[in-house]
């Protein structure tokens, strides 16, 4: 799993970490049932605060991509499989949008507009994050 962060970027560090993990899942490099390295392990490697990594993991948990279990760490859910399936169609859509002169930012805004307000599935909401 590759995580990269840019200290000069506009996006907050936790969002960058979450985006890296999301990209790994979408690319199929991180599959259902696989365990993410613990936040304690990642934080010193990236030179960030432990809570920044935990924040990123919580966001991924809220998106339904990972489960956080006390003592078991962060596990990729079966949503990963569906994300990979969807990715091919999305790539198609991005290509068509580009052909029509619609950039990725516009496309992302369009998708966000189409989706209902609270899209984040939270089937594991009651569970508390692992420290």
């Amino acid at each position: 799993m590759l995580i990269r962060i840019d200290s000069h970027a506009d996006a907050p560090l936790f969002a960058q970490i979450a985006a890296s993990v999301r990209a790994e899942i979408a690319a199929g490099r991180l599959g259902t049932g696989e365990r993410l390295p613990s936040a304690k392990q990642i934080a010193p490697s990236l030179g960030v605060n432990l809570h920044t990594v935990l924040h990123a993991y919580q966001q991924l948990r809220d998106e339904g991509l990972i489960e956080l279990r006390r003592g078991r760490g962060a596990i990729v859910t079966d949503a990963a499989t569906r994300v990979v399936e969807l990715r091919a169609e999305l790539a198609d859509l991005v290509a068509r949008a580009a052909a029509a002169g619609i950039g990725p930012e516009t496309l992302a805004a369009l998708i966000a507009d189409l989706a209902p307000a609270s899209t984040a599935p939270a089937p594991h909401a009651p569970e508390r994050p692992t420290p």
Binding site: I3, R4, I5, D6, P37, Q41, I42, S45, L46
Partner: protein, 343 residues
């Protein structure tokens, strides 16, 4: 008479296959000749003080000698040959025994020599000795060990030296890491599923057996089994799964138990490559492996990150998606090089 250079492959087959099988057959024949009555009951097992505690029919000695003397060479030389062939095919060169086939062959011969001499001396001691079935196992063990050492050394020197050329892989392409960027690459390297399941199963079984024996009051036997179980568990915990981390601090490989742990500083790294590892052919097996100038943490065959230190020594770890890991490491090494020595 002109001397032709030895054919390594032929020598390998002689040492790994023909010699041990011939040795075992001779030993079995000698045992059969010595045994007046193959159905007689003899000692076949000894406890730690060397007193026999297990008895069986005399024919079990020649039968075991032949079974192991033929089975071991066939199995191990077959495995070594297959792995040599696979490596040769991959690298597009003619098949030739590797440095480790030489070692495997010598080990096979030594093992078979040990077993053959041990069983033969045990039979001889029981046939001729005054105590017959109560003969001890101390002297036979010593004789067998000496024979094994002699045969192993002979088997090693009979085979031609295989020059180990430095292994060259594909140089890593550095990840396009900007100055303000930080990256970490984490990957778990484990043995493939079947051997891992077998090892974990063996560990659990031995511990369970030990607990059961101790609970039923089997005494020393139970504790010895339990201790063996603990050793197997320790080996599984330290030798089957590793976390491979590449970050600003370099390459770190850590067993799941926490120890052992290997760390390579980016400043001490000369080159990063992706290589294809053939465990038996290049390292003589799995686990923590030393060969001249090269150390490997080997969990399986296949892609691996190979790091050459500034001293010229190489460190290899088998891991999936080695290409990405190597790319991150190369970027980190490049960055350390640009920054120059810090002190």
């Amino acid at each position: 008479m002109t001397r032709h250079p030895a054919d390594p492959r032929r020598r390998f087959l002689i040492v790994a296959l023909l010699a041990p099988i011939a040795l075992a057959l001779v030993a079995a024949v000698v045992q059969l000749v010595m045994l007046p009555n193959p159905d007689a009951t003899v000692a076949v097992h000894w406890d730690f003080s060397g007193t026999p505690d297990g008895f069986g029919p005399a024919w079990s000695f020649p039968v075991l000698t032949v079974a192991l003397g033929v089975g071991l060479p066939a199995l191990l030389s077959g495995t070594a040959l297959a792995s040599d062939r696979a490596a040769a095919r991959r690298e597009g060169r003619p098949t030739a025994p590797t440095a480790n086939s030489r070692f495997v062959a010598a080990m096979v011969l030594a093992t078979v020599a040990f077993l053959s001499v041990l069983s033969t001396v045990l039979v001889a001691a029981q046939v001729t000795g005054p105590g017959q079935a109560t003969a001890g196992a101390g002297l036979p063990l010593l004789a067998a060990a000496v024979a094994a050492l002699a045969c192993g050394l002979a088997g090693w020197w009979v085979q031609p030296r295989v020059t180990a050329s430095p292994v060259e892989g594909e140089a890593a392409h550095a990840l396009d890491l900007r100055d303000e960027e930080t990256a970490v690459w984490v990957r778990t390297a484990t043995m493939s599923r079947l051997p891992l399941a077998l090892l974990v199963g063996a560990a659990l079984f031995t511990v369970a057996l030990g607990v059961a024996l101790v609970a039923t009051g089997a005494g020393a036997g139970g504790w010895i089994t339990l201790a063996s179980g603990a050793v197997v568990t320790l080996l599984v915990a330290t030798g089957t799964a590793y976390r491979v981390v590449v970050d600003n601090r370099g390459l770190t490989v850590r067993a799941f138990a926490g120890v052992p742990r290997w760390h390579l500083d980016p400043g001490g790294i000369r080159a990063v490559e992706v290589v294809f590892v053939n465990p038996t052919g290049e390292f003589g097996g799995w686990g923590w492996r030393w060969t001249p100038g090269r150390f490997g943490v080997i969990t399986r065959a296949g892609e691996a990150i190979q790091v050459t230190r500034t001293s010229g020594r190489q460190f290899v770890v088998t891991v999936d998606d080695a290409e990405t890991g190597a790319a991150v490491l190369q970027a980190v090494v490049d960055r350390a090089r640009q920054a120059g020595p810090r002190e």
